[in-house]
Symmetry: C2
C-alpha cells in the first residue's frame, strides 16, 4: 500500500496576520526511512505562537522556514517503520516533525512519549516544549523564592498555565493575566491565587490591587501594554522573563517597546529573554520534574484540540485572536 | 561678619526642558552648624542628568524635591566651621549639599576629599558619584570579561568616560558613542578603541562595523534610538546596563520604549537597571579602586567647568543639548 503524505509548505512571507495563501497544500507519496531513521504517522500538531516568527525572513534564534519548505512545527505520532535501534513500530514519539501527516526523522531527533503517564497530545504541551519553556524560564531566570509574588501573562495558554502551577509549587503568590471570563476561570481552576481579565479590567490598577508588595517575578508571553502595566508595578530587584510577545507578532510597523522600561532602573530590576532551545542540554531535568508533578497530580494540563489537518491555517489564527484555552493542538486524521 | 547664602529653590515642576522660572533664587543669612554638623563653603556643584528626574513629582528611587526646597545636588567645598570630630576647618568635602553657596550637613553625610590626589572638582566626577556609578554598573552588572566587546553611550560624559577606561583596564574591546567630532576625539584620547559620532553616523551600521562579534556589554546612558541600535547588535548572553536615558528625560508624551527589546529574547540577553544609591554600602570599594587608578595614571579625568552660580539654570541645560565634554561642574564664587 502506498501511503500519501499531505503537508503545508511555506508559499509566501506574511505581512501582518498569516492567511491561507501563505502556504501551499502539497501531496506526495511517503518515502521509506533511511538508516537510523523512523517513519512517523502524525496524530497531533502543536500550534505555537513562535510559528509566526519562523515565517519571517529575519535574523532570529533559528533560521527562517524557507519558501517551499514544509512548515516547521512540533508534532507527535506513532512510529510505523523504524531503522533506529532505540525505537520500535508502535512507539509514540514527539519532535520537530513539521506540519504534515507523515514524517521521516532521525531516531535521535525525536523523544519517546510515555502514553501511560499522559495522553499523547500532552507531549506537545505540559510535557513538551511549552512545559520545558515554562520550567526553565521560571526556575532558571525567574528564580522564584517562597513568598515571592509571581505574575504571568498569557496565563490561559500552554506555557503560562504551567508557569503559574510551578510557581504555586514553589510557595509563591501567583497572579495570572488572561483574556475573557472563561480563560480566567480556567486560570483559577489551575490554582492561581487570582486572575486578571485584560479584556474587562484595567491591568495596571488590578496588578496594584493583587500585588500589594509589588511583582517579584513577571513571566511575559504577551508584550505591549500588559508588559508596561507589569513594569509599573515591579518590586525592588524584580526579574522580568521575556518568553514571548504575542501581542506584537503581527504588527506591520515597528514593535511597541516597553515605555516603562525605566522601572528597571529605579527598582534595580532585570529583564532577561530566552528561548527553550537555549536549554536543550538540560531537557532531561525539566522532563523529570514535570513528569513527576503530572504523576503525583500536582500539575494539571489541558489541551484545546482542533480537528482537521486541512484547517491548519485558520486554526493557527486562533492563537492570535486568543481563542484557545490551554495548549492548542491540531488533530491529524482519524483514530 | 554675617555670611549670606544664596540658593536655588524649586519653584515649579517643569514640563519638558526646565526653564529659569522653575527655580526661585533666594537669599538668607548662613546659620551656625549644630551638634555633629559642619558648615561648608561650596566651591563646585555637579550638574547631573538625574536632576531633571528629581524635579518630577513621581515615584522613583528617591523622593522628589519639594516645591520651595533647595534644589538637590552634589557639591564640594571647604569646611569653614565644624562641630564634628572627624572634620576640621580647612578640610575639603563632597556630598549631597544642594544648589547653594553654603551648606550645613551632618559630618557623617559628607566624604572627605584628598586634594593632593586630585583637584576638588574631580570628587564630583571620576572620584565621586559618577565614578562610582560607572564602577558598579560596569563591574557588578556588566561583568566584563577579557576580550568582551563593551559599548558605552554618552561616552563623552562623566560616567561614560570612566566606564570605557575601566573596560579597557579589564582587557575589553571598547567602543564609545558620543555626539560630535570634539567629543569623539576626547573619547579616543581616553583610550577607547573607537568612537561613533551619533550626529554624523548611522549608529546601527557603525556598531555592526566596530563590533563584528556583537556587543557583550552595553552601558546605556541615553535610551531612545541609540538603545535600539545597540539591541540590534547584541551578542549571545549580552548584558545591557541601564544607567540613564538622557534622550528621554524631557519628553512631554510617553517615553520611547526600546522597540528592539525582543533582541533580548533571541540572544538570551538581559537588561538590568540600577542607581548608584543601591551600592551605598560598597562605596569604599569603588573609591579605593578609582583612587588607585587615578594615582597610577591609568584613569584620567576631565571636568567642564562653568562659571557663575547665578547661571545654574542655563548651565544645567547644557547637559541636555550635549554641550559638555566630561563632567559638567559649576564653579561657585571666586578663588
Amino acid at each position: 500500500m502506498e501511503l500519501i503524505n499531505h503537508q503545508f509548505q511555506l508559499a509566501a512571507r506574511p505581512v501582518g496576520l498569516p492567511k491561507p495563501s501563505d502556504w501551499h497544500y502539497a501531496e506526495a507519496p511517503v518515502a521509506d526511512p533511511g538508516p537510523d531513521e523512523v517513519l512517523v504517522k502524525i496524530n497531533y500538531i502543536g500550534l505555537e505562537p513562535a510559528m509566526r516568527g519562523w515565517m519571517n525572513d529575519s535574523r532570529s534564534y533559528i533560521a527562517p522556514v524557507g519558501i517551499g519548505d514544509v512548515m516547521r512545527g512540533f508534532a507527535a505520532g506513532e512510529v510505523i517503520a523504524s531503522n533506529f535501534a532505540g525505537l520500535s513500530v508502535g512507539d509514540h514519539v514527539s519532535g520537530l516533525l513539521g506540519v504534515q501527516e507523515y514524517a521521516i526523522a532521525n531516531g535521535n531527533a525525536v523523544q519517546k512519549a510515555d502514553t501511560e503517564l499522559a495522553p499523547l497530545e500532552t507531549y506537545l504541551g505540559t510535557l513538551g516544549m511549552p512545559g520545558w519553556t515554562a520550567y526553565f524560564g521560571l526556575i532558571d531566570i525567574g528564580k522564584p523564592a517562597e513568598g515571592d509574588t509571581v505574575v504571568v501573562s498569557g496565563a490561559g495558554g500552554a506555557v503560562g498555565g504551567v508557569v503559574g502551577q510551578i510557581a504555586k509549587l514553589k510557595g509563591c503568590h501567583v497572579v495570572g493575566i488572561a483574556g475573557g471570563a472563561e480563560k480566567c476561570s480556567y486560570v483559577t481552576e489551575l490554582g492561581f491565587d487570582a486572575a486578571i481579565d485584560y479584556k474587562s479590567e484595567d491591568v495596571m490598577e488590578a496588578l496594584g490591587e493583587q500585588c500589594p508588595k509589588g511583582i517579584d517575578v513577571f513571566f511575559d508571553n504577551v508584550g505591549g501594554e500588559i508588559l508596561d502595566a507589569a513594569l509599573a508595578n515591579l518590586a525592588r530587584y524584580a526579574r522580568v522573563i521575556l518568553c514571548g510577545a504575542i501581542s506584537q507578532y503581527n504588527v506591520t510597523d515597528a514593535m511597541k517597546g516597553p515605555s516603562n522600561y525605566m522601572a528597571l532602573l529605579v527598582n534595580h530590576a532585570s529583564m532577561t529573554g530566552f528561548v527553550v532551545s537555549d536549554y536543550l542540554d538540560r531537557v532531561g531535568e525539566a522532563a523529570t520534574a514535570l513528569g513527576g508533578w503530572v504523576a503525583s497530580g500536582e500539575l494539571s494540563s489541558r489541551e484545546d484540540i482542533a480537528e482537521g489537518f486541512e484547517n491548519f491555517p485558520d486554526t493557527l489564527l486562533r492563537l492570535f485572536s486568543g481563542a484557545n484555552t490551554g495548549k492548542l493542538v491540531l488533530k491529524v486524521g482519524g483514530d
